[in-house]
């Protein structure tokens, strides 16, 4: 397994259905001739409590894949955006009942992940985690979490 594949297999502790690569948290993985692996990640939110767990999980995943000299670096620039969540990541979120974020510039309402209706309303700015909001579908009445566009 390449060091990138090992790091890319790590899932987000708060959204364990998507990997850090699909979320756009994983920026770069390099290996120098001496076998030292450097992993660059970026935090979703600056106070995200998941980052320490992600850092430890990356080190564990690389050790399991046979890479023992690992450094995980955090980069803030350019700032993370929900626009960096991949198409595969969005599909997995929707399939799990979590509305994926729309493009940041458009600020459109999320579609209901249950029935697909665009007729939805925000109930609370904060959902099960700080990075999600609580919404409700006006068509099928189902409440759901939506990842906030950032």
């Amino acid at each position: 397994m390449t060091p990138y594949a090992a790091a890319a297999s790590v899932v987000d502790p708060e959204l364990p259905l998507v990997t850090i690569a699909e979320l756009g948290i994983l920026r770069e993985v390099t290996e120098d001739p001496g076998g030292r692996v450097t992993v660059s990640i970026t935090p979703t939110y600056s106070g995200c409590p998941a980052l320490d767990a992600i850092r430890a999980d990356i080190a564990t995943a690389l050790t399991r894949a046979g890479y023992h000299d690992v450094e995980v670096r955090t980069h803030l620039s350019p700032p993370w955006s929900t626009d960096q969540i991949t198409a595969a990541g969005r599909e997995k979120l929707a399939a799990a009942g979590i509305a994926p974020p729309g493009p940041v510039l458009l600020q459109i309402r999320p579609r209901c992940p249950v029935c697909g209706s665009p007729d939805t309303e925000e109930l609370s700015r904060f959902g099960s985690t700080a990075c999600k909001a609580l919404w409700r579908c006006r068509t099928c009445a189902e409440p759901f979490d939506a990842v906030k566009p950032l």
Partner: protein, 180 residues
Amino acid sequence: MVRPGTGAGEDELAYLRTDREFRNVLLVELPDGDFAVLIAKLLFLSAFQHLNYAVLAGGTGQLAEIAAKTVKESAYHLDHATQWTLRLGDGTTLSHQRMQAAVDEVWPYTYELFEDVPELRAPWLSTVDGVLTEATLTRPADTADSWKPTGGRSGRHTEALSYLLAELQVLHRAYPGASW
């Protein structure tokens, strides 16, 4: 004194500084017992931070990178506080009274925000005025003899900070180096 750049780590800075060594403005240490006060604090602070971090993001280096990230987050905090201010100010008679009382109570502490960046007060007032007006609230008048509590930036705090630190530091002080 423990200050950034002296080799002290995050734990030393968070858990082992005394009240006189903290450099926060007084606004952020005021008690959160009343929800309207909490929202007024968040509105005034996030409106300030959004402007201040936008300026810092135009600089260079790590500070600019942190600021660029924080601009986006403070915009969200400002929006959140705005929504609640509108809901409470333009809500029931009781919620309006309590939101107005909170604005009046917290207002004196906003002057300290601009001591080092006076040029930000005009754009800040423009943002805050817009929200208060839409929320049917009245902005406290600026007069020459307005009470303007200050001192947080030089380590002179309200007693509220001591209660906060007692609660947040007690475990680390009782069990030095504790981890879990």
